[in-house]
Amino acid sequence: MSTAEIIARCQALYDDLDFTSAREWKEADPKRKVIGYMPVYVPREIIHAAGMLPLGILGGGDQMEVIHGDAYYQSYICRIPRSTIELGLTKKLDFVDGMLFPSICDVIRNLSGMWQLMFPGVYVRYFDVPQNYNDSIGGEYYTEELRELKAGLEKLGGITITDEALRESTAVYNENRRLINAVYDFRAEQPSKAPSVEVYLLMRAGMVLPVEEHNQVLKDYLEAAAVEERPVRDNCRIVINGAFCEQPPLNLIRSIEMAGCYIVDDDYMLINRWLLEDVTLEGDPLKNLSDAFLHFSADSAAKYCDRAEDVGQYLLSTVKKTGAEGVIFTAPSFCDPALLERPMLQDRMDEHSVPHISFKYAENSGQMQPIREQAGTFADSIKLWS
């Protein structure tokens, strides 16, 4: 398959707000269940081990007109909960048996409560993660939370999730993370061969496809992209930071690259690369997932940074590792985590003379000219003065 064919399929999955592929997956077997999850991170291994399909819910994007959803939110709250409510009320999620709301911010936290009130037949879990990273404190708490999630899914499905199933699922997701990292590494090394819109659509496909299928799509893309000749542009190399929840419209990603920036790393779908190493397959699989979270998970604004000197180091190491020349801080309007953290990250970048700019967006932003101008000027300034 060519990259064009692969990406065309990914684009179709991205555009499909009826989640047809997930519906068809469920309809193939009456015992099957689908569990939706919102950003930033849930342990999809447990859902998979239950024989269920994890379905990433990232709002409705710029193709969804929000009518009902706006009635539930004030003007100073971001768009992702509105479009997610819209998906719910317009029955686009009527096949979803459960929803997980991770502890990312108060809006998503409270959305879990709204979902409980609005869709009482759906299994809903607010998924908390520890902000204490000590094994005997946060670790014990989190392992127990994972057990509760496992028990909830078992009850929902009328099944037992065995340790063996959990280890198998962990192995599959380990491979998924390796392949995703391979795509990101490929893009960082040869950004002209892996345009960011394509990488983005590949990642979005992983939110709806069964992980085994996604693994194959990733392998196919790497193989096809390696041999495809594409023009090399005189772009600067930048890292995108702050877009880990409400997603930017595709045109925004396109605009940044058109303006002269190769995106060599981003935090669009952190769940894909949240765990930074393979999760061990020996021993208690839930404890292994807990240890992985505590000791080798990515950084994000939704997490507590327990040492002041570590603030911004993950971003800085990403900049260095990818050979990036600057950072674009993009955050959705009204995003508490990204916007509160940004000044600290900017200070860290300033300490290390990493150029940066920032702007805000909404998932349905339509006016790209200001973005192109800002990103273009930034790219020029890097080329001229850095």
Binding site: Q74, D106, R109, N110, Q131, I137, E140, V311, E341, M344
Partner: protein
């Protein structure tokens, strides 16, 4: 119409006392260079004052500092200063008022500079912004920070796992940090004694809150309530002073009931109780008196509010328990209002509308506060459905005066009161 500055503001003895108590706390906080006392900063939800006192430390609450600056009309400039420094216009104005205040010398209400805290006790309870607020302060002050992660009651219950987690953190993270910073060894009996005092104060505090079930209500449980929660939510819960304050307050309110009086307002006793409201959401601080006047001048009294539960929910039965000192601190944190899920909050509001015989629910939605605000429109619909009483929705902010539109708010309130009146007339006609 705003109250002229020269007009005398009427206050009960308890209001004057709580003002003196808070002023005295600021005097202590700004005098540590002489006394050598150490300062712990923390948050109102999850305020472990009884524990902090065990280490002879002073308790500083940045939210209260922001409120003070808001009420003294200084916060607007501080917020704008923080925005000039690079903090987003979209984030919480308490945070920006705090950072803006720091950039201007961090002057306390007594005119003296506040010293840097010795410890940031990050009680991560009921609000995401707290986490980043103290990371930002740590970034500025460079001082030790101790995280207490209080899990959210996503399913409306406190599980044993949650309780164990909080207890473990208190024992293995918070207490060692307090010992290290203060140089004082933890004495659990001191904590028990403080908790005994807390429980006594909580009994009288709840009595005062529930006095609003009377008709007329002798208290305003929102604007007046701000004075009543002062000691118990800040540096005084667990002290003899708080016990004495709530005894005094209770006597005052008992006397009001005997005399058939309505609540005290800045312009004297409210005479004619025409509307009884439950209010959800924090008040606006920059235009507090003006906002309050919009209620009492039309005979509207707030009989119950959720803001008076933000620093602890006591009217559903919880009391600090000296027999289980660490566990009770965990339960206190877990039970704070904004740590409860939406269903629990709706249940509370429904209970208040019914038990306090309210005419309706008013939501004051705060632009800064997603913890309170996200979901309030659904909450209003739910409470209306369950109680049959009308809801109203206004939008203001905590301490950014740019988000308080007096004309807009007054217009909505007047329309709401008219709606209540029309429904009454309709009900009378139907009867």
């Amino acid at each position: 119409m705003a109250i002229p500055e020269q007009a005398e503001v009427i206050k009960d003895s308890s209001m004057l006392l709580q003002k003196q108590m808070i002023a005295a706390n600021y005097d202590e906080l700004t005098n540590t260079a002489e006394t050598g006392k150490k300062i712990s900063s923390t948050f109102v939800p999850g305020n472990l004052n009884e524990l902090v006192m065990c280490f002879d430390m002073l308790n500083n609450l940045p939210e209260i500092n922001a409120i003070n600056n808001g009420m003294r009309k200084k916060s607007g400039m501080m917020v704008m200063q923080a925005e000039k420094m690079g903090h987003s216009e979209d984030v919480c104005t308490y945070v920006k008022a705090d950072i803006g205040s720091m950039s201007k010398g961090n002057i306390a209400p007594n005119g003296k500079p506040m010293p840097s805290p010795d410890l940031l006790l990050l009680s991560y309870t009921g609000c995401f912004t707290f986490m980043k607020w103290f990371e930002l302060l740590r970034h500025e002050y460079g001082c030790e920070t101790a995280m207490l992660h209080v899990p959210y009651e996503g399913d409306g219950i406190i599980t044993q796992n949650m309780r164990d987690y909080v207890v473990k953190q208190i024992k293995e993270v918070i207490i060692p940090a307090l010992e290290r910073v203060s140089g004082v060894k933890f004495d659990i009996d001191r904590l028990r004694e403080n908790l005994r005092n807390s429980a006594k104060a909580e009994d009288d505090f709840v009595w005062v809150l529930e006095s609003a079930k009377n008709k007329p209500s002798p208290i305003d449980a929102y604007f007046g309530g701000v004075y009543y929660i002062g000691p118990i939510f800040t540096a005084f819960r667990g002290t003899d002073k708080a016990v004495d304050y709530y005894k005094l307050l209770r006597k005052e309110i008992e006397q009001r009931i005997v005399e058939g009086k309505g609540p005290i307002t800045p312009e004297g006793d409210m005479k004619d109780e025409r509307y009884r409201l439950v209010v959800e959401g924090p008040p606006n601080w920059t235009n507090f008196r003006e906002f309050w006047k919009m209620f009492y001048e039309d005979g509207a009294v707030v009989v119950a509010s959720t803001y008076t539960k933000v620093g602890g929910v006591y009217d559903l039965g919880f009391r600090h328990d000296p027999d289980n000192p660490i566990e009770t601190l965990a339960d206190y944190c877990l039970g704070c209002y904004t740590n409860r899920n939406l269903s629990q909050r709706v249940d509370m509001l429904e209970k208040y509308v019914n038990e306090y015989q309210a005419d309706g629910l008013l939501i004051n939605s705060i632009k800064s506060c997603n913890s309170f605000s996200a979901g309030q429109l659904l909450m209003m619909q739910e409470v209306e459905k369950r109680t049959g009483k009308p809801g109203a929705f206004i939008e203001t902010d905590l301490v950014d005066p740019r988000y308080f539109s007096a004309a807009n708010v007054k217009n909505r309130l007047e329309s709401y009161f008219q709606m209540i009146e029309q429904r009454r007339q309709g009900a009378r006609t139907a009867a």
